[in-house]
């Protein structure tokens, strides 16, 4: 936020006298002011020759801070916002919809975890095609070149019953038009894309009658794992910032986020690499405008730990980031994908569902 100097023009009470008083206590910006003991500062101001104006300056600063804060919301207001803006996106798979209480919730971050080739990316593609079919824009951040238009075509073809048909071609074109895919190969690129999206969402979105409802990152662990090494906290800081940014996007733009996390336990011993997690973020309607939203899907990896126990690639800290965590598993040679809900912020978790994702 602002250095005190920049406030001088707008608020004459924060004059050079006040600034030098603050500077003598190591306060140069509003952040410094927040970290400082307020009572001690007032006591110092009392002993000062111009105590009256100094105290007015402190009050002025406090009121500036107060004005920046959004008001406290009560339960009724929260519920109204949730009911009006936070919708549920169907995933296109009845089993998963039932498990999640209707589908992906806008405003939430959903994470898909599971071992390699357990169907996470396939689920991401299915969710993306379903959302796009329902007139939503989908942002797909692809970190491993795993995005497959052919799969999308199959999902679209299957659901309409005819595989080679002009209607299907037309539908498919529309669906693919609505899925915007970005290749992202490191975490900084992801931040760039997300910030760009945030700005776009704020300003120009209204161009079309479509909203971004779903944001998919497949997989987030391949972006974050490379920066987690070393002894410093920077990698973890980047990871948590990414989580917060995703949740902020999801909440403020009413997007449901579906993401992947690394909290899964491997079913086999000595699993060296257990794959990713998918995240989907779904975005809700904006007031008075046509629906437009986003789902984000992120996948994450689980790496082999000691004693044959797989441990999450993103560690314990990541586990408290997503709202919902789904564990994917698939028996060898089987086309049935088992999905277990490990965590859900709005229901008692521990429900299991078996759903046939034709893989």
């Amino acid at each position: 936020m602002a250095p005190l100097k920049s406030l001088e023009k707008e608020y004459p009470l924060i004059d050079s006298n006040f600034q030098s008083f603050c500077a003598s206590h190591g306060i140069f910006s509003v952040e410094d002011f927040l970290l400082h003991d307020l009572d001690a500062l007032i006591a110092f101001a009392d002993n000062h020759s111009t105590s009256q104006t100094l105290k007015q300056g402190i009050d002025q600063l406090l009121s500036i801070i107060d004005a920046l804060q959004p008001p406290l919301l009560n339960g009724l207001q929260l519920l109204e916002d949730a009911q009006r803006n936070k919708h549920v996106l169907s995933t296109g798979c009845e089993g998963i919809d039932a498990l999640l209480g209707g589908g992906l919730h806008e405003g939430q971050l959903t994470e898909l975890v599971g071992p390699s080739s357990s169907g996470k990316t396939q689920a991401c593609l299915l969710f993306a095609s379903t959302a796009a079919k329902h007139n939503s824009l989908v942002i797909y951040l692809d970190t491993g070149n795993s995005f497959s238009p052919q799969r999308i075509a199959r999902f679209v073809g299957q659901s309409s019953g005819h595989v080679f048909d002009n209607k299907v071609d037309h539908m498919l074109k529309k669906v693919l038009d609505r899925i915007i895919c970005y290749s992202v190969f490191d975490v900084y690129q992801m931040f760039d894309v997300l910030h760009q999206l945030k700005n776009n969402l704020r300003s120009e979105i209204v161009k079309s009658n479509q909203y971004v409802r779903l944001l998919i990152v497949d997989s987030i662990s391949s972006l974050i794992t490379p920066v987690l090494g070393g002894s410093g906290p920077q990698g973890h800081a980047l990871m948590i910032s990414a989580g917060i940014l995703l949740k902020k996007l999801a909440h403020e733009h009413n997007i449901a986020v579906l993401g992947g996390g690394g909290g899964c336990a491997a079913q086999h011993e000595w699993v060296r690499e257990v794959e990713g997690v998918g995240w989907l973020v779904a975005m809700g309607e904006r007031e008075g405008a046509a629906p437009l939203g986003w789902v984000r899907e992120v996948t994450n990896h689980v790496v082999g730990g000691e004693d044959g126990i797989s441990k999450p690639a993103l560690g314990e800290s990541w586990k408290s980031v997503p709202h919902v965590r789904l564990l994917f598993s698939r028996d060898c040679g089987s086309h049935v994908c088992n999905i277990l809900m490990l965590k859900h912020s709005s229901m008692a978790s521990g429900r299991a569902a078996s759903s046939t994702l034709c893989l």
């Binding site: 936020m1 190591g26 140069f28 952040e31 927040l34 970290l35 003991d37 307020l38 009572d39 406090l62 801070i65 107060d66 920046l68 804060q69 406290l72 919301l73 009560n74 339960g75 009724l76 929260l78 519920l79 949730a82 939430q108 410093g232 906290p233 920077q234 973890h236 800081a237 948590i240 910032s241 917060i244 902020k248 909440h251 909290g263 336990a265 491997a266 079913q267 000691e306 004693d307 044959g308 126990i309 441990k311 999450p312 560690g315 314990e316 800290s317 586990k319 408290s320 709202h323 965590r325 490990l342 965590k343 912020s345 709005s346 229901m347 008692a348 978790s349 521990g350 429900r351 299991a352």
Partner: protein, 310 residues
């Protein structure tokens, strides 16, 4: 002289009087699972546990109890929920509230009662440390206004979760740019947070309940039972390993640790590991670490709320 002695023997109050007096200064009689230790205004309770371990659920359960009127078994208070994890779901709160106020078998609930309870729940979310500090610093005025408006104060402050910005604060270069290397930013922030809450408590006596996620993994906390059994077999020579004790590494600065007056550990249960489906409920273990109690409660999370499993 005789009179004095008689007066002394006679005592100051009857048992009934004493009970009512003690009850009035002990306003927090929470239903299970927080029923083991009486909590008073000014106490700071820390709920620590890995994710998921029903920490937020316990908060919501306590919040519902606090906003309910006395004749519904509640505490008749306002509750303020500071959401640093940004994962709170109002629908879940509403669902638990409806379970409490709808009599068994009845279809409709009392709408006025529902609205009253919902409006007593106050919420703010913070996306970084400075927003959190902002919120704490401006809370005094807001609570004051609220008191004047409704005549009832906020007596319960919830923070979910206190360590949410730990990694960002640890990596922050905010103070080091100034060449102020005497203190870490993380420590400065914690001191400011504790100081702000402490001052707030002086003017607005509240019970503080904060959750804290375990961020350094205990490898046995995340694995399934099946894997754990394999490990146990392999480690059977190592008899000193005790699965009853759950280790977690403290990461909050000492200023916060000494601010905490009560500490509760929640963790997944070995009998029902996270992920097993048992009548749509999940089981966790709840243990009082401060004050240390010798027994462990088994808690169960159902659609209707959090209960102690008997």
């Amino acid at each position: 002289m005789k009179k004095e002695i008689e007066g002394w023997i006679g005592g100051d109050e009857s048992g009934g009087e004493m009970l009512s007096r003690v009850r009035s200064v002990r306003p927090f009689v929470f239903p299970p699972p927080l029923h083991r230790v009486p909590l008073r205004l000014g106490n700071v309770v820390e709920l620590v546990g890995p994710s998921p371990s029903a920490k937020t659920h316990i908060l919501i359960h306590a919040a519902v109890t606090a906003v309910l009127p006395k004749h519904h078994g509640g505490l008749d208070h306002f509750v303020l929920f500071l959401d640093l994890d940004c994962r709170f779901d109002i629908a879940r709160f509403s669902q638990l509230l409806l379970h409490r106020i709808t009599p068994d078998g009845a279809q409709d609930c009392d709408q006025t009662l529902y609205d009253l309870c919902m409006s007593r729940f106050l919420y703010a979310r913070c996306y970084d440390t400075f927003q959190f500090l902002h919120t704490l610093r401006t809370l005094h005025c807001r609570l004051e206004k609220l008191k004047q408006l409704h005549g009832v104060g906020v007596h319960l402050l919830m923070i979910d979760s206190i360590g949410a910005f730990h990694w960002m604060d640890r990596a922050s270069m905010f103070l080091s740019q100034r060449g102020n290397k005497k203190k870490l930013f993380l420590q400065t922030v914690s001191e400011a947070v504790v100081q702000n809450i402490r001052k707030l408590l002086q003017v607005h006596p509240m019970l503080v309940i904060a959750t804290k996620s375990v961020i350094f993994g205990n490898k046995y906390s995340t694995v399934s039972n099946e894997v754990k059994r394999n490990v146990e077999e392999r480690c059977s020579k190592n008899l000193t390993r005790n699965h009853q004790t759950f280790q977690y590494r403290e990461y909050m600065p000492s200023v916060w640790q000494s601010f905490v007056t009560h500490r509760i550990l929640v963790r997944s249960s070995d009998d029902h590991p996270v992920g097993t489906n048992y009548q749509n409920s999940t089981f966790y273990l709840l243990e009082w670490l401060l004050p240390r109690l010798s027994f462990i409660d088994k808690i169960v999370v159902k659609d209707a709320g959090v209960f102690v499993d008997t």
